[in-house]
């Protein structure tokens, strides 16, 4: 039976009313939980696992898939409206999205996130159905040295994209890199910079840092402004929905975000947030409205949100084809498979085609439900901003604190939230960008581990870093991204850059 026939048969399984109900429950729960900072999709699926023991395998996995997609989407709502990223993949969304919300364009930001997620989820799920075997062999070609090269490219492109001052951006980045060193070193099992505090042994939680820097830091900043700041923002200026111009500026970032997010999600050591960084950096470089970046550019929401959701579908590629869980949620789904005596892996597509195609089909359904569920809510969500500032920020403070201690009930965690919040305030006061700190915390440990793995495998031979074609290509791109703008600037032809961006658009 061909792929198309199997997919149609799978859709037949997924549109059975009871399975549609499971998908709806999953999407609703996932969205609700994604909104809470700290409690991610993995914890929700783990909590729900016992409930699903009595469902048939298809039903329970369909519900899991709904939670997964819902969770990835839910995080963007709080990022945009409250500047409080629920999970690491929606950190980038907060950058432009929250600026848009403050300028009365929250409706457009939420809509481009919802529709972008839908478009990306749709394309990526279809890609999962048809391209999985090829994508997985590409992903497996990535060893430690290729990952290291990818991280170098990420550092170069991403740090260039944040803020106007390279020096300030680098200072922020290095704060993040230092924080990334805290905890047990994976290769030797030794603790670093933990100062004998057991809670620091596992390193600094990305969501704690992000919530502290963004939400707590901003709350303090607003409080310090006192009466100088206007008491409320105007929630809607112009249309609540996306206007024609928004559509024109969004559709390309959606597609580019999908193309970036899907393969990175499929990589065993990728992670959804890496795709969002690349997408943001790319959109900023290609945009005709560079001056809007940092002040609410819709491309900066559309691209990363699409990348985030495409990456969620990408994660299922190694899970279904190799039995490789590359995210915490995928690991729980794997446990779910095993509960029914199913072993995901190369044989699953042939031994249980109904289940696999049923799952892929229900992802398509879950994706559709997500957009149907969320678009009508946009108007309601935006009204959150009409709450007077002192109430709104008090609420954000409460919400951020509850989310953090809900995920990890520990005094030290709470202390970290406070200290990083103060740090976020100080950085704002002195005009240092916030995002590179979080980027450093995420990318730093990955880059370090991959570099050390690569050098250990080669027994210290540095040339391996450039002898693989993929690594060499990525490093060349990184070098170009670093050098070309310098040369152009040195020649005093900054306008050429703008021209180039316009041409390639």
């Amino acid at each position: 039976m061909g792929t198309v026939d199997l997919l149609i048969q799978g859709l037949g399984v997924a549109i059975q009313p009871i399975n549609l109900l499971y998908a709806l429950i999953g999407v609703t729960l996932g969205t609700l939980v994604g909104v809470l900072p700290g409690i991610g999709p993995a914890t929700t699926v783990a909590l729900l696992l016992p409930v699903t023991y009595r469902l048939d395998p298809a039903g329970s996995l369909i519900m899991f898939a709904g939670i997964y997609y819902g969770g990835m989407y839910g995080g963007s709502t709080t990022s945009i409206l409250l500047n409080t990223p629920g999970e690491s993949a929606s950190i980038v969304t907060a950058l432009e999205g929250n600026k848009m919300a403050k300028a009365g364009r929250g409706g457009a930001a939420l809509s481009t996130a919802a529709i972008g997620s839908f478009v990306a989820g749709l394309i990526a799920t279809i890609a999962l159905a048809f391209l999985a075997p090829w994508v997985v062999s590409f992903a497996l070609a990535f060893g430690p040295r290729e990952y290291f090269a990818l991280m170098v490219l990420a550092f170069v492109t991403v740090s260039a994209a944040f803020g106007d001052s390279a020096l300030r951006g680098l200072v922020s980045l290095f704060i993040g890199l230092t924080l990334g060193l805290v905890g047990i070193d994976l290769q030797t099992g030794q603790a670093r910079l933990s100062f004998g505090v057991p809670d620091l042994l596992d390193g600094i939680e990305v969501t704690t840092l992000a919530v502290a820097m963004f939400a707590i830091g901003e709350t303090l900043y607003v409080a310090a402004q006192g009466k100088r700041a206007p008491a409320t923002v105007e929630p809607v200026k112009g249309s609540l929905w996306m206007n024609a111009r928004d559509w024109a500026r969004s559709w390309k970032p959606w597609l580019r975000g999908t193309v970036i997010g899907f393969p990175i999600g499929a990589m065993p050591a990728g992670g959804a947030e890496i795709g969002t960084f690349f997408s943001y950096a790319l959109e900023k470089r290609l945009s005709k409205h560079k001056e809007e970046f940092g002040n609410g550019a819709i491309e900066g929401v559309a691209g990363p949100e699409a990348a985030n959701n495409a990456s969620a579908a990408g994660t299922l590629v190694p899970l279904l084809t190799l039995g490789l869980p590359t995210s915490a949620t995928a690991a729980i789904m794997l446990a779910g498979f095993q509960q029914y005596g199913l072993q995901p892996g190369p044989l699953l597509f042939t031994s249980n085609p109904q289940l696999v195609w049923g799952l892929i089909a229900s992802l398509l359904i879950a994706n559709l439900m997500l957009v149907i569920l969320n678009l009508p809510l946009v108007g309601l969500w935006v009204r959150l901003l009409t709450i007077p500032k002192h109430w709104l920020y008090a609420g954000i403070l409460l919400f951020a604190t509850l989310g953090t201690i809900g995920a990890n009930p520990s005094v030290v965690e709470l202390g970290m939230l406070l200290v990083f919040g103060l740090m976020g305030y100080a950085l704002r006061v002195f005009h240092f960008p916030i995002a590179p700190v979080v980027v450093g915390l995420i990318l730093g440990p990955m880059a370090e581990q991959q570099l050390r793995r690569a050098l250990a495998i080669s027994q210290g031979d540095v040339t391996v870093l450039v002898t693989s074609p993929i690594a060499a290509t990525l490093l060349t791109l990184a070098a170009l991204a670093l050098i070309v703008p310098m040369i152009l600037r040195a020649r005093g032809r900054g306008q050429v850059l703008t021209q180039m961006a316009a041409d390639s658009d």
Partner: protein, 316 residues
């Protein structure tokens, strides 16, 4: 998570007057959701509820540092509380040593060893290494030329690699062990031909072995096991048996009667049909060992693990 705890405390308070009712348990998995300890805790939860051993079982995850963060928290919170259980195992023994954890397994009450999983050494199908003897020869000639992919440093996989090298007469300090977070990443490195061999529990590699993408060189079991079609280390001339076991602990400060009651509840669960189904589905062995036998075994294990971690150079 917080309200789950609050709810279970509330439920406990309501249940207090009816002491004759089945006990409520809160099982701590000192790891993130999805891993082996989490799966053990959740399987216990399911089997205990299904068998009516307990009416209300909660699982809480306290991830980090090979379980030592959870252990420290558990030793404090579960003091004198017979409703609290914690899953742990061999990996925790190693982690306590490498992390120099201030709280050790002496601070909690061992109940029983529950399950075990043997380690396997695998190579990609295209590898030049055909047998364990090929690996032994390569390892003896140049220990650094064999890169081993497995879980975190100082864990069961790393210890097994060190013991393997030591047994064949290579210097365990020179073992080129590459630690990956989680089994998935290590498996990807083996499949992608990035490393010489992979070492982990058989469950991690099973699907790939059945599909012919990986070849098993040897199993760390004392004799051949049904699920793996490969020789044991011993058959391959390496006299080494390792089993990655998992067990369950209760808090400190419990009376002998309380410990006996918990042990009876766990034993009843382990002998049930639901638990047997779990073992079959996950490929775990039943390694039931309770009371003083478990304590004695634990003491030997800690001693041996300290020795090999010193040999590898992780513990000074």
């Amino acid at each position: 998570m917080k309200h789950v705890i609050a709810a279970s405390i509330l439920a406990g308070a309501i249940a207090l007057p009816f002491a004759a009712m089945a006990a409520d348990y809160t099982i701590m998995a000192p790891a993130a959701p999805g891993g082996g300890w989490d799966q053990t805790a959740r399987s216990l939860q399911e089997a205990m509820t299904a068998e009516g051993v307990s009416g209300n079982v909660q699982v809480v995850n306290v991830p980090g540092a090979g379980g030592t963060i959870g252990l420290a928290q558990f030793a404090q919170e579960a003091n004198g509380n017979p409703d609290r259980l914690m899953v742990g195992g061999y990996v925790m023994v190693g982690a306590i040593l490498t992390n120099k954890s201030p709280v050790t397994l002496d601070a909690v009450t061992p109940i029983a060893r529950l399950t075990g999983e043997f380690e396997v050494i695998v190579v990609p199908a295209a590898s030049e290494l055909q047998t364990l003897a090929d690996l032994t020869a390569k390892l003896k000639a140049d220990p650094g030329s064999v890169s081993w992919a497995g879980g975190s440093a100082g864990g069961t996989d790393h210890i097994t690699a060190g013991l393997f090298a030591k047994t064949v007469g290579a210097d365990p300090k020179l073992v080129n062990y590459i630690a990956f977070s989680g089994g998935g990443e290590a498996l990807a490195a083996v499949l992608g031909n990035q490393v010489t061999v992979g070492i982990s529990g058989y469950g991690e590699f099973q699907a790939q072995v059945e599909a012919g993408a990986l070849r098993v060189l040897g199993v760390s079991a004392p004799e051949r096991i049904a699920i793996v079609d490969a020789p044991t280390f011993r058959e391959g001339g390496v006299d080494l048996v390792v089993q990655n076991w998992r067990g369950i602990w209760a808090g400190p400060g419990l009376s002998a009667e309380q410990v006996a009651a918990i042990t009876a509840d766990v034993e009843k669960t382990v002998n049930s049909e639901s638990w047997k189904k779990v073992l079959a589905a996950k490929g775990w062995n039943n390694t039931w060992l309770a009371g003083d036998d478990f304590k004695a075994q634990l003491a030997t294990e800690i001693e041996n693990t300290t020795a090999i971690l010193k040999d590898i150079g992780l513990v000074s």
